[in-house]
Structure formats: C-alpha cells, structure tokens
Symmetry: C2
Subunit: 334 residues, 2 copies
Amino acid sequence: MSEMVNVAVDGMGGDNAPAETVKGAVNAVVADQRVKVFLVGKEPVIKEELKKYTYDRARLEIVHTEEVIETGEPPVMAIRQKKDSSIVKCMYMVKDGQCDALVSAGSTGAILVGGQVIVGRIKGIERPPLAPLIPNMNGISLLLDCGANVDAKPSQLVQFARMGSIYMESVIGVKNPKVGLVNIGVEEEKGNALTKETYPMLQKCPEINFIGNVEARDIPMGVADVLVCEAFAGNIVLKMLEGVSDALIHKIKEGMMSSFKSKLGALMVKPALKKTLKSFSTEEYGGAPLLGLNGLVVKTHGSSKAIEIQNSILQCIAFKEQNINQKIKEQIVP
Amino acid sequence: MSEMVNVAVDGMGGDNAPAETVKGAVNAVVADQRVKVFLVGKEPVIKEELKKYTYDRARLEIVHTEEVIETGEPPVMAIRQKKDSSIVKCMYMVKDGQCDALVSAGSTGAILVGGQVIVGRIKGIERPPLAPLIPNMNGISLLLDCGANVDAKPSQLVQFARMGSIYMESVIGVKNPKVGLVNIGVEEEKGNALTKETYPMLQKCPEINFIGNVEARDIPMGVADVLVCEAFAGNIVLKMLEGVSDALIHKIKEGMMSSFKSKLGALMVKPALKKTLKSFSTEEYGGAPLLGLNGLVVKTHGSSKAIEIQNSILQCIAFKEQNINQKIKEQIVP
C-alpha cells in the first residue's frame, strides 16, 4: 500500500458549510482508501453533521478550531489575527507536514495570503498562481493565473506555464500539454508590453509545448490545455465564462417558456440538455490549486456542494502520488 | 428638412464585400431619407452589384478606388502606402469634411491607425477608444476600450468613461447611463495598479453616473450601461462573450441531437430559441465607433452581413444629429 494522503479540509469555509463540506469529506473517504481527512472547524457542529453518515473513523478526524474567517474580512489582517480559525489551522497543518494538502471553500483572499505567508512558496518560485480547471468544448484547460497576482512579470508567466504543464501532464494526464499565451491576437507582435516580452521567453522553453498566442474567442474551443496569463486577464476569462454561460442558459430557458409549443419541446430536450450543460459548468472540476507552495492548497468555489469538495480532496491524491512539488523543484527552480 | 448625413462606406472591406456591403448600403438609403452613401471601392464590381437594386440614385454615389488593404497587412505600412485603397479614401473623405462618417468592415488595424493618423483626434482627446455595443440579459452595454489602446493610463480611462456616457445617452437614448469600471472585485481597493488609480478619478467626475467596479461575471447581467477598461481587458471581455456563446450554442445543439426524443423536442423549441439567441448575438448591434475623432469612424465585424452594414450606417444619423463630437469637445476637452 502506498502512503496515506492526508488532507486538511476547512469545515467552516463556503456558503454551504458545514453540511456540504462534511458530506463531501465523508464521500471522499468512502470513495478512496488512500485518503485521510482532517475536518477542521467547530467540533460540535461538525460532529452533529457527521452523525448522518457511516465511514471509516480511522480516516476522518475532527480538529477543533473556534474562529471563522468571513468572506468580507481584509485577508492579511484576518490571517494575522484569527490564529484559531479553520483556514489558518489548515494552513499550519500543511506547513508542519501533518497534512499534504488542504481544501477550502472559504475566503479567496485569506487562502491566497495564508498560502503564501503560512504554507510558503517553494524556494525559487516567484509567485504561486491560482489555477482553476475550466471547461471547453472538448474537455478542460488549466487557466493560470486567475486571481493571485495582478500586474505579473514575464518571468512569472514563464513559471506559470511550466508549473501548469507539469500539473496538466501529471495530475490530469494530458500528454505534452499545449501551452497558449492569452492575448488579443495570434501574431507574435500582438498584445501589451507584458505579452510581447513573455512570448519569446516561452518560445525558448524546451520543456513546454508552446503553441503561441491564444485569443479569448478560442479559449472555449479548447485550443490549449494550459492557458497562461496575468491574474487580471485570467479573472476576466474565468468570470466571463461563468457569467456568459449563466446569462445564456437563462435566456434559453426564457425562450423555451415563451410558447406552448416550445414548452412541450423543452420537456423533451431537458434531460439531454442537462447532461450537456453540466459538462460546460465550471463547478464540475474540483477546486483550483495554488501552485508552487510547500504543500498543496486547493481553493474550491464559495458555493461548493459536496461533489466539488469530494473531487477537490481526491485531486490531492494524484498531486501527492505524482510528486508534483518534487517535479516543480527539479524542473523549474533555477 | 435637417441636413443630409453623408456616410462613406468601404465597399471592399470585410469577408462579404462587396455583395453584402452594397446591399446594406442600398437598404440604408431606402430606409432613411436623411442618409447619403458614398460607396468607395472598385467601380465595376460595385456597379455590377448595384444593378440588383432600386434606390434613390441621388443618395448613393460610387467613388472609385483601385487598391484594397487586406486583413493581414501591417496596418501602418498599408495606410501609408495604399493611398488609393478604399479605407484610406474613406478616411480622407471624412477628414476633408465631404463625409460626416465612414463605415468599414475591413482591417481593424488599418481602421484604428487610419482613424488616428488621417481623420485625427479631437484636440485634447488622448486616445480614441473602439467602443462596441455588447448584448446583455436586459439590453445592451457600451464596452470601451476594446482594441485600440493597450496599456492605457488612468486619465485615458476617465475620458473613455465620459465619451461613453455621452454616446449611450445621446445615440442610444439611455438616460443617465450607469458607468462601471471593469475589475476583478467590487471593492474600491481591488484590482491592478491601473484600476486602483482610475477608481477615485472616476468618483470625482460629476458628469458621469459612476457605479463603481463591475466584475466580469456581472457584465452579461447588464449591471452597467458603459463598461470602462483598458483594451487588453476589453478585448478579452468581447471575445469571451463571443466564444462562450458560440461554444455553448454548439453544445446545446449537440445535446439536442443526442436522442430521438430530444431531436423531436428541438424542432419544437427551435423558433423560440432562435429569437432569444439573436438578441444575445454581438452581431446584431451595428458597428463599433472609434470615439474622439474629428468625424465618426465605425468599424463593423469582418463577417458583417447587409443588416449590420445598414445598422452601422443608420447609427451615423444619431451621431451627427445629436452633435456627439460637439458635446465631446464641450464637456471633455480641458
């Protein structure tokens, strides 16, 4: 048997905590023997939730904390002051080596700050990008950076590209992943100062499969497996993907309800549509790892349901077993 | 009768020229008595197309040019060397005052360069933004800048906000349009160096209705009438809107064709869906004006059909009759 993968799960973070978080944690433990989960948060409420389930108690422990960091709190202050919060506790469990990874649906800001300040960067990594998997017409792409570092430098984007390649190849199983630079035109000379300087640097990386610039229009078509950009642009890509999907689906439902005939038709297409649209939802693909830290920090949607928590926990297995951080250290750090 | 609105139309630009361009020009002339169109391009081919239609010949003239600027050509060079191209000719007709506006579906780069170099900026305007109307769930928003000026400065974004407000209020008829700054969070302190510096400057503009930061997620919901951003971000917003819509509609069709039952249902919802989706297409709203020039330059999609050319021409009427450039001069120029 391979070594156990220990995952700290923030039992208090997210809109649906603790009910969905606890359910997701239990499901992960049931689904895979290799996982041990530490549910971090207020013991009484977590205990209450756990009563609903049957699971291997040796692989699910509660770690009590008293405080909770709310979404609206200034992250730096919250991390500094709320030492007994579930997020901070999870961070220390990873830092101290008690856990390999942590999963939280809590405050993005606190997770980004805590990841850097408490867990800490791998030596040589300039900035840890937040890297969600996003759906495209044929599968998924890794988008990085997506919120951690605005106004990034070219050398940082190059590290994003290299870490993203390792992740897609080793965790997701995409052979020789295609790396694209998000830009406003496909020609090399297109773009802003950042992309113009980054392009030739990516071309000179023999260990990645750089396919050149990718226009936002082609992102949903799935032209690249790894999408590299600075966090402001990445955030717009991610949020437009979510917003346009939501708006369009709303419009389609409205259209289908507009006449008696279309209502009847809607009933008939509904099951097929549901399946299709599910494959195009950003919530189907587990959480977003913060890459380049001394341990794995996974941020899941604030609105995560049990399935996303479960997937995020299971994602940590491949991350550990594939030695992602060892690969990052060997291949990237100068 | 009010004064005639003279519009130069690039008869050679775009994927569907000259057939659709000529058709759109004729339809515009037929639709509105106030318009006179100068169709600029190779006279023999335009003449041939015009044979198909009946229209008021006093309000549609051909202006012969020999050259054509192709989409792939380096714009600065093309504008400088191809003096007898349809785009350059249109530009000079506006510069010389023979026309109030020009409409082209040709090379975006050549139009941006020609607009600045030949037509020229209004004195005091730092940069002319390209400002397409984009659909949202409840109507349309003006997105600027969307391709003309990457790495813009805060003072330029403030001018975009003010010009955009004038345009939405006077041309589109939105009273006291809501102006939002495209950002990665709604709080004032969120964003990159550019948005952080721009936010308080927009707050200090009494003549605009600044509603604060707008996250990309909320753009398709229609939270703002005028969306202000630097061109790299604006391009991503526009292209993601197009790309996600296309991908999702493709997925939906695929889903509907996946079973016999869903195929039957699809037939019944099709007419209603078609109407709904049309209202959410970026191609339905005429062209994108380049604001802040000495005259009006309208860029329409490279794939424009007659309806878009027609709408773009008709858009020039309100622009002239509402004295947009006079308002820009009075309200914005220091």
